[in-house]
């Protein structure tokens, strides 16, 4: 992790990610906030690539930018007038203090701790190993996750469906 390209890429991507996250907080229009969220997801996908997690990076783009962003945009479109603004509630100062405290604690733990570093080189290819792990060691969470997705899909549709018209 010490070649020039990776260092430049890390700083540019980290700046893009954190800048987009701050823009989600600051902008007043919800659509622009969702665009900031998309920028955060894209920056994170780039950071995963610098960590040589190729499968997770592509999955992040595919699912977060390709599907979850659309969910947010549709929810904003389906709730007009009430959801155009992005103001903070009256809890903003306690929330700001709490967020800064949490960030402070996490950064202190990250810097102060001596981690059990491994100094291994980059992963050559992760997709096949992830596939094996999903189907050998972690097959039960895999199946439960598929049932969870089915429940979520059916539940969302049942929630939003209009009342069936009674036939006389």
């Amino acid at each position: 992790m010490d070649s020039t390209g990776v260092i430049i890429a890390f700083y540019v991507l980290a700046a893009m990610t954190i800048g987009s996250a701050v823009s989600v907080v600051v902008v007043r229009n919800m659509i622009h906030a969702v665009m900031g969220l998309i920028g955060t997801f894209a920056g994170l996908a780039g950071l995963y690539v610098t960590l040589s997690a190729d499968f997770i990076a592509i999955t992040q783009i595919l699912i977060y930018i390709g599907a979850i962003s659309i969910l947010f945009l549709f929810a904003i479109v389906l709730t007009p007038q009430a959801s155009r603004n992005n103001q903070e509630s009256f809890l903003r100062f306690p929330a700001l203090v709490l967020a800064l405290l949490v960030a402070g604690v996490l950064i202190f733990v990250a810097l102060d701790n001596t981690w059990n570093l491994s100094h291994a080189p980059d992963f050559p290819e992760t997709a096949s190993t992830i596939g094996e792990l999903l189907l050998k060691t972690y097959v039960l969470p895999f199946e439960i996750a598929s049932v969870l997705l089915l429940v979520a899909v059916v539940g969302s549709i049942v929630l939003v469906r209009p009342e069936p018209v009674e036939e006389d």
Binding site: M1, A75, S83, N85, L98, V102, L149, L159
Partner: protein
């Protein structure tokens, strides 16, 4: 100067705290959900950073965990946004300060 584990952990911590602020302080329900998604993403970044830098028997088990986190986040976002649309239909608002009655 090279990139170490601490750099990624700091980015993850900042993202997590920004997500926490969004989840606590936004008046719009969808803003709260955006904060929750950002917290999920920060956690994913931390997992992948640990799997790359820290000694373990199977470093890619963190990647499997991240796949599950992405799955659960997608399911939760879908259900929560469906709830938001339904709440808007019945209460005509999604301001979290105004949705405070259990009984209609």
């Amino acid at each position: 100067m090279s990139i170490h584990l601490e750099h990624y952990l700091i980015v993850g911590a900042i993202l997590f705290s920004i997500g926490l602020y969004l989840a606590l302080a936004k008046r719009n329900f969808i803003g709260v959900l955006m904060g929750i998604e950002m917290m999920f993403n920060a956690v994913n970044l931390t997992f992948i950073a640990f799997s790359r830098f820290v000694k373990s028997d199977q470093p890619l088990s963190a990647h499997v965990f991240v796949v599950f986190v992405i799955t659960v986040a997608a399911a939760e976002a879908a259900t929560a946004l469906a709830l938001a649309v339904m709440v808007y239909r019945t209460r005509d608002t999604i301001n979290v300060d105004q949705i405070d009655l259990l009984k209609w």
